[in-house]
Symmetry: D2
């Protein structure tokens, strides 16, 4: 496993398994003397918590991180900040039958081969979506530090299945729009998207199925000049973190894949002076040129595959006995992980930006 | 700049500017005693060279790398392998007028701000697509080592503008298909795509415009169990490298963004036993589960934006005088960089896979 | 702070402050499926615990690490292994008066400047020797894995003040000698050294003073060929870790500084065949040639400065008011940290060796 | 091999073999816009060149680095700076007989085992002292940048064999003393040491033998607050680099090993106010407390073993045939490498300090 990532001077270690005693994170090389509001951290993390309305898992996760180092007198100390989140509600029995059957779409089989059968398979172990809780914690910490430097980030559900939200305005995006999204039941821009998406989720749940979606993420207030190309540009670091979130299968910046079918004359963002500030009229670049921020809003989208845990019977193999089998995945699962993945993607962005500023 | 990347034990440094005396790469921690066929390296690199038919820049790049370390008696020594590629054909005058004008879509302005005006702007400097030559060299070296371990990789033009090629068969992809693509004039699967795409390129060139495209890349022969999640899984490392290639604005693995609108029951790849081997009937995962290879073909696609250098006049700014301006980008440019980007993407994949095996 | 170290694929994060709620470590990329005996870990850590006889601090540290991840069913899972050690006995009042006075020889002042006054100064905060407990934990874990690969390590007090122990036999050192040292009250080879050293310690304690010493560390069973020169050779990695232990001011391998006054004909270790094995007749190289193990015992020594906390009044400054001052360092302090540093140095060696094997 | 080192954001790759076509270095993440005086670089490198007086190898090394990237218009560009140094004078025949005989004290045997016989053994290959030329180049570049930030470094021969020089004054060391040393024939403080040491070298050469020594290195002008403990403090990074120089077997900071036999009351450096500046009356800490600079001169010493190449016959083994043998090492060798190692150690210090400032 490489659950430790070094991005310039910043490093982040994420540890824990779904059904072990606790999970957590160590963030090293944060600036010293930064005030952190613990309630705001909890608020950020609450956006990742499962809803009680049937759109997500019934597992109750009252995740309260305990900060055990690097934080003193209400401020970061500049030393490694560690937070531990206890796993209170471990129904490991629900998962007991699955240990030799490869759940399709899960890492049971690949993890078994890699770790020679020694990894903790219960609940997905270290591969569990639960491991995004410490990532979100780290992102919540970074967001507060970024905010003091005038940087705001946010994310919304761009689509679930075939239902779409509106898009962030890549040119005029501002802190207000980023924050207003966070207050809705589902984080969407278009008020009608909320109900349409909830219907999709309800429907797949009834069908013992699941569904994927796309998340769009934005940041404003990043000065021109941030990014360390060739291999540590904004895109590289954001992608390296975002692909650490289970179920992400794609990422695109600005116009992204759509740029591939444009002409240069369409895709190029013309520059102009807005007073003394260099701006672009369009923002197909997503705020990044040559791996470096250009001062415009940073925009990217991540594709989330449908939750692989579906209740209906699936063909698979028993990878220990090496024979074909049929599996019915029991347990409490999200029919759609997308709403809960929104703060995860946003957290990854916060950590990536922070890595250039410390 | 971070032009040095450490992926596990492997490290790669890429150096040089478009119009400096030379460019090159240092690859460190390759296995010792690996035979390298220099002609095959040149052959790989030739796939990146510009065509002489008007589909790409007229700049002549007879790129012959000189290996100056880490290679002795026809074999890698296990020590840092450095190759230098001379810049023979430097028409820096073509670019002399552009240094204070931000070419739309280029890193002139962001690079200027980041490097306080000290970077070598001629021809894009270190941001130039020319810097992919050492990357391709490194990928060509890795490909020969991978081949001896039974791993073959390849890539084709998935689309240019709105013209599409066929797709790799994600389940039955094999070395033969990967290699047959390399022999065509344009690297495509569908014989008709070649002419269709060349027509698109010809047309944009005539319109003083440019066009983007998508590249699909595949690998076969990777055993189950390769990858270091959470942050050094196959997707993380491939993405970190691929976003080091100029003009890449998106990456997706397996079904990628399309998976976002699928149901779990559609997207999950059911496992089955093929003799004693665990396989999947479909391959929406692109051969990767939980960041770890599952033994199926590895498949991903990268979105390439249209070349930002278009000859027609564009609105922009003079970023030194801070005033609006109009620019006409002269010089020799590719109306479509996609064909030349194919071996670059493939090289990035080779380096990423190699990093897990040394 | 960089309390996270990446050595090849292995990474180690150490977190916590002397008077915070807890300290701990995350070790990432250990091999999967390794049995760990928890009692043996406690035994290793007990060697770092303060003695109750007046030779060390009276602070009671019943350090029981709680492993909260990466360990399941008695075995490592291959995932990030995190252990947390609670700080039970925090007499932070003892330290309350010192926060604006720079204790000579301590990092109060340098830490204050670096962290702009935001770091937790109580008890040395993150600079405290207490932070070696998680390091020792990590070393204890690694030692059990190394043992299964036939590698044994050990350390003894080479000197305290002017009192010397015998030396490890650099040619014939074996596991038995390494282990027998661990069983003594003070870890020494020469039985008479124990009492002589205890007398030195007693005497400095009575004089409200402290004393330093030298620790010698050895390893046997390392095959020829381990080490990644130029910058990741055995010496580089061991030194990088050992200088992470407070109070270490020097390190030397094999004959070390003494080699500087030898002739080549004296210092060179002649090779000979012992059956089918290449050995050397002497071992001035300390088992390392060109950063790579040569199959002979690995030997190094680390210099430990006297504990800077001495009870007698010392001249210093109030670094906030910027004026001269006199300080009397109260609290419970070790008059000689050397005995407790022995397992720390040994732990650093274990981690360094482990980093080449995973 | 790990000939690439990442220290925070700075990275350095050293490549080449003694008898290959060229050697060189890539330095990445230097600040942009720094003027470099090429003559001063050559002057720095000349201090490493062999003397023509019989005190060092007769091999002629007119090492002129060619900077091929990262440098434009007299200034650093902020991009990876690569310099290549051609190997003009390759008498590889001198070494032809030695490839299966382990030269005592050399890495022939350990390198052979590690690289399975594939490494270039001629002249020590990548293990050759010649590889310090690119390190010195990198140090020379850093020294010019540091100088503009008010930081000056220097080094002198502290001892050769049993002959000693005076020591740097650890409290009052200044730029003048550091620089005056560089102008002498041998870099010493005490004028009489020069002749005494040359006599020692002459004598060992006549005896077909060699001799080691100690180098002392100092830096002034480093502000308080530089260093990233626990694992990236000043000592850790300096040691990691210095042990990359062949023949270094020990390093000590400030009082170093001598501190081990001092009492705390002797070793502690008392603080006092010098006007508005915090200083210490003594400097046993070598300017470093808790891994962080305290504003006093930084002082350390490195132990250099005698050159292992001695001309007299030595017992050894043929490691391919696995039999005992006698070797007479021919070729041109330094009877004492210490004078030439002085700028190498100084270069390592420059690179280490630079790594905290970029």
């Amino acid at each position: 496993m490489s659950s430790t990532i070094k991005l310039g001077n910043l490093s982040l270690s994420v540890f824990g398994e779904s059904h072990g005693p606790a999970i957590g994170a160590v963030i090293d090389h944060l600036p010293a003397g930064e005030e952190l509001n613990f309630d705001k951290i909890l608020e950020f993390m609450a956006r990742r918590a499962p809803k009680k309305d049937g759109t997500s898992t019934m597992r109750s996760e009252a995740d309260t991180p305990e900060i055990i180092s690097g934080f003193f007198d209400g401020k970061t100390t500049g030393e490694a900040l560690c937070a531990v989140i206890k796993n209170n509600d471990q129904h490991s029995k629900d998962y007991s039958s699955i240990s030799e059957f490869a759940r399709p779409g899960h890492a049971d089989y690949t993890g078994y081969v890699k770790y020679k059968g020694a990894n903790d398979l219960r609940g997905g172990g270290h591969f569990s979506g639960r491991l995004t809780a410490p990532l979100v914690f780290a992102g919540a910490v970074c967001s507060q530090i970024l905010e003091k430097r005038g940087i705001e980030t946010g994310a919304h559900i761009y689509s679930i299945g075939k239902e779409k939200d509106a898009s962030f305005d890549p040119v005029n995006l501002n802190a207000e729009q980023l924050n207003s999204v966070k207050k809705r039941y589902l984080p969407v821009i278009d008020g009608t998207a909320d109900e349409r998406m909830r219907n999709v989720i309800k429907s797949v749940r009834e069908n013992q199925d699941s569904v994927g979606g796309i998340i769009e993420c934005g940041a404003v207030g990043i000065e021109c000049g941030i990014g360390e190309p060739i291999f540590d540009g904004l895109e590289n670091r954001i992608a390296q973190l975002v692909f650490g979130i289970p179920a992400v299968k794609g990422i695109e910046f600005g116009a992204g894949f759509a740029a591939a079918s444009l002409f240069g004359s369409e895709n190029n963002d013309e520059f102009y002076m807005d007073g003394n500030t260099v701006k672009t009229r369009t923002n197909n670049a997503g705020g990044i040129l040559g791996g470096i921020s250009n001062g415009m809003p940073l925009i990217f989208r991540a594709a989330i595959k449908p939750t692989p845990s579906v209740s209906r019977p699936q063909n698979t193999v028993n990878f220990i006995k090496k024979e074909n089998a049929v599996i019915e995945v029991k347990g409490r699962h999200d029919p759609c992980i997308v709403p809960r993945a929104v703060p995860c993607i946003e957290a990854a962005l916060n950590i990536a930006i922070m890595s250039f500023l410390c």
